[in-house]
């Protein structure tokens, strides 16, 4: 018997009991859909998170001042003044794994140009901040050496601020006022997009660190040269954990902390955030995979059950086929192909359903739609295997029927 004929008779048999065939497939459909949705949603979420973290700059460690206890009052992270420019310089110089340690300050202020104004984030940075963030300049120039070191009344604009204040006009050479201090615009940064927290990173103005601290956002910090935070970029290929340990011990030494003292700073690693996200995604996918596995198992049992019923129901038909020349192998092949076809159709339907599910989820979450060809191929192979495995016993039973008995059955 040829394969095309077997397939034809399989489809015919499945069509004859449409509702039963569909119900039988349901286990496989749900199982495969769960697998496809798991892989797709997990992959989409991961791509989204990785993308956001990458947009922050890879291999980044953020050092925040704080966790200081004075007179029983514990100050929260970022509120105290335990980090300064020299800490940053020392880290950059002494920790081999560190490429850049950029001291930064952050505040908020109204920025005024002519008759318009715009409330935005003000950053006090040195040029190495842009290196750490892997942030390019679009037009104009970065800070000069002098401005970088001692400060100067110059400003770099984020794209959003530029658009709000200048529209389509060229801002370079214009003077903006921040807290009544005039700054000359020397450049516009390239688009950076949303941060991991969903903030518009282009809604920022960058001033030289020294100027920002003394004249705009850090007046209380001017005296001790303290900074808001430090952005550290670790060299490509270096171990983040090792780098963190080195930075920690250097800072503890510089801050003269004794053994047993709490750190007066906090390190945050962006890959920590990533692994947290990945860990929760893993829990989700383990859960869904369990659902998928159980569903596929139940689906396989369902197919076996229905095939056994079908063999019993069609005993007489099997007898007729044997009488007109079907060999036991032909009969076995017919039922095996029927079971496999059933499972494969279920598998394909599951892929479609899973795809629709992932499309809906990715639309709602604003993720990119993630399509994993491996998962799709695997789903087809697994459903085919389930069909063969669950069809094997019923098909074997059909092939072992005695033609005389089979023809005599009602």
């Amino acid at each position: 018997m040829k394969l095309s004929d077997s397939l034809g008779s399989a489809f015919e048999a499945l069509r004859a009991h449409k509702l039963r065939s569909i119900l039988t497939m349901l286990g496989i459909v749900i199982g495969v859909a769960a697998v496809i949705a798991t892989v797709s949603i997990g992959g989409g979420a991961r791509e989204e998170v990785v993308g956001r973290i990458k947009s922050l700059g890879a291999n980044l460690i953020i050092v925040l001042p704080g966790n200081i206890t004075s007179g029983g009052v514990r100050l929260g992270t970022g509120q105290s003044a335990t980090l300064n420019d020299d800490d940053a310089k020392a880290i950059e110089k002494e920790v081999a794994q560190v490429q850049v340690a950029a001291p930064t300050m952050r505040g908020g202020a109204q920025v005024v140009f002519g008759g318009t104004n715009w409330g935005t984030s003000i950053f006090g940075v040195e040029n190495n901040f842009f290196e750490a963030r892997e942030w390019d300049i679009e037009t104009g120039r970065l800070f000069s050496g002098e401005e970088n070191l001692r400060g100067g009344q110059v400003a770099l604009l984020g794209l959003t601020v530029k658009n709000q204040l200048f529209g389509e006009d060229d801002p370079i050479g214009q003077t903006i006022r921040v807290k009544n201090v005039p700054f000359e615009v020397i450049g516009v940064m390239a688009r950076k997009g949303q941060s991991a927290q969903g903030q518009d990173q282009d809604d920022s103005v960058f001033l030289p660190l020294q100027s920002a601290r003394q004249r705009v956002i850090g007046s209380s910090r001017a005296k001790n040269r303290s900074i808001g935070s430090m952005l550290i970029k670790v060299r490509e290929g270096e171990d983040m954990t090792e780098a963190e340990a080195e930075i920690k011990s250097l800072l503890r030494q510089r801050h003269r902390l004794r053994e047993g003292d709490e750190d007066d700073f906090t390190l945050r690693n962006l890959t920590d955030i990533l692994s947290t996200v990945e860990a929760s995604a893993r829990v989700l996918s383990i859960g869904l995979s369990a659902v998928a596995a159980v569903s596929l198992l139940v689906g396989g049992i369902g197919i076996m059950n229905i095939m056994l019923v079908s063999v019993t129901e069609r005993t007489r038909e099997i007898g007729v086929r044997m009488a007109v020349g079907a060999t036991p192998k032909d009969v076995m092949g017919q039922f095996l192909i029927e079971a496999t076809t059933l499972a494969l159709i279920g598998g394909v339907a599951g892929i479609v359903l899973g795809g629709i599910l992932s499309l809906i989820v990715s639309r709602f979450a604003g993720w990119p739609l993630y399509v994993d060809i491996t998962a799709i191929v695997l789903a087809v192979v697994v459903s085919g295997l389930i069909g063969i495995l669950s069809g094997f016993y019923p098909a074997w039973r059909a092939s072992r029927l005695d033609p005389v008995e089979a023809l005599r059955s009602a």
């Binding site: 015919e12 009488a323 007109v324 020349g325 005389v404 023809l407």
Partner: protein
């Protein structure tokens, strides 16, 4: 050489502790072109004999040569091959595939003989034309009368050009007029050279055969040739009677 050569054929069944003898040593020769009726009450062994001759079942003892080939000890696969090439079955209940049309039903045996689709269609249509159903090719069994269904079944039995046509109570589910139709068809096929073996318990059916073999208790008790009744003439006579009655 006879088409069918049966020597001391035996078949016993084991039911629990009991051994039931269905066929207790039957020897018979049937030549090419004969029309044989096998008769006997139920339990006489005639169905067992038919199953053995049809290669659906294997004997416990004895020898069976079909067209010169010893088939009594063949494997299940080989027996399927013999059925496919040499034997056409006609059953009391027609045994057609319900959802398949006439052409599809007739083509079924050729699927297992690995004929290609075009040839299957051509030969199936030819076989249907031969049994007088050229205008019913696309009908499913439910759209056909009992007599037409049995004709489809006969076309299916003929389609692989078998050596012998085996019919088990072929008129058992049909009214007398349709039965005569079917017997006329068997006689026609027999005149064209087909060997026909009909198992029946009705004398009316056996009258149309040229030889009657009677079974009882698993043995042949009589084997007689006779002048067959002409089924076409019987049909005409029936028509006249019905006319007179009306």
């Amino acid at each position: 050489m006879s088409l069918i050569e049966v020597r001391d054929l035996r078949r016993t069944y084991t039911m629990g502790d009991e051994t039931v003898t269905a066929l207790a040593g039957v020897s018979l020769d049937i030549a090419q072109g004969e029309f044989v009726a096998v008769m006997g009450p139920s339990g006489s062994g005639k169905s067992t004999f038919m199953n053995l001759v049809g290669c659906l079942d294997k004997p416990n003892g004895g020898a069976y040569r079909l067209a010169g080939e010893e088939v009594s000890s063949l494997s299940a696969d080989a027996l399927a091959g013999v059925r496919s090439r040499r034997i056409g079955f006609v059953f009391q209940q027609f045994n057609l595939l319900e959802r398949t049309d006439a052409v599809g039903n007739v083509a079924l045996p050729m699927i297992y003989a690995s004929a290609d689709r075009k040839e299957r269609r051509r030969k199936a249509e030819a076989a249907l034309a031969r049994v007088g159903l050229a205008d019913r090719m696309g009908h499913t069994p439910l759209q056909l009368s009992g007599g037409q269904q049995q004709r489809v079944a006969i076309a299916r039995a003929l389609v692989n050009d078998p050596k012998i046509l085996l019919a088990d109570e072929p008129t058992g589910a049909l009214d007398s007029r349709t039965s005569l139709d079917i017997m006329a068809l068997f006689q026609q096929l027999n005149h064209e050279g087909m060997t026909v073996l009909v198992v029946t318990h009705e004398q009316d059916v056996a009258d149309f055969a040229s030889r009657v073999v009677r079974f009882r208790d698993g043995k042949v008790i009589s084997d007689k040739t006779q002048t067959p009744r002409d089924a076409v003439a019987a049909l005409q006579q029936l028509a006249r009677e019905q006319e007179a009655a009306a």
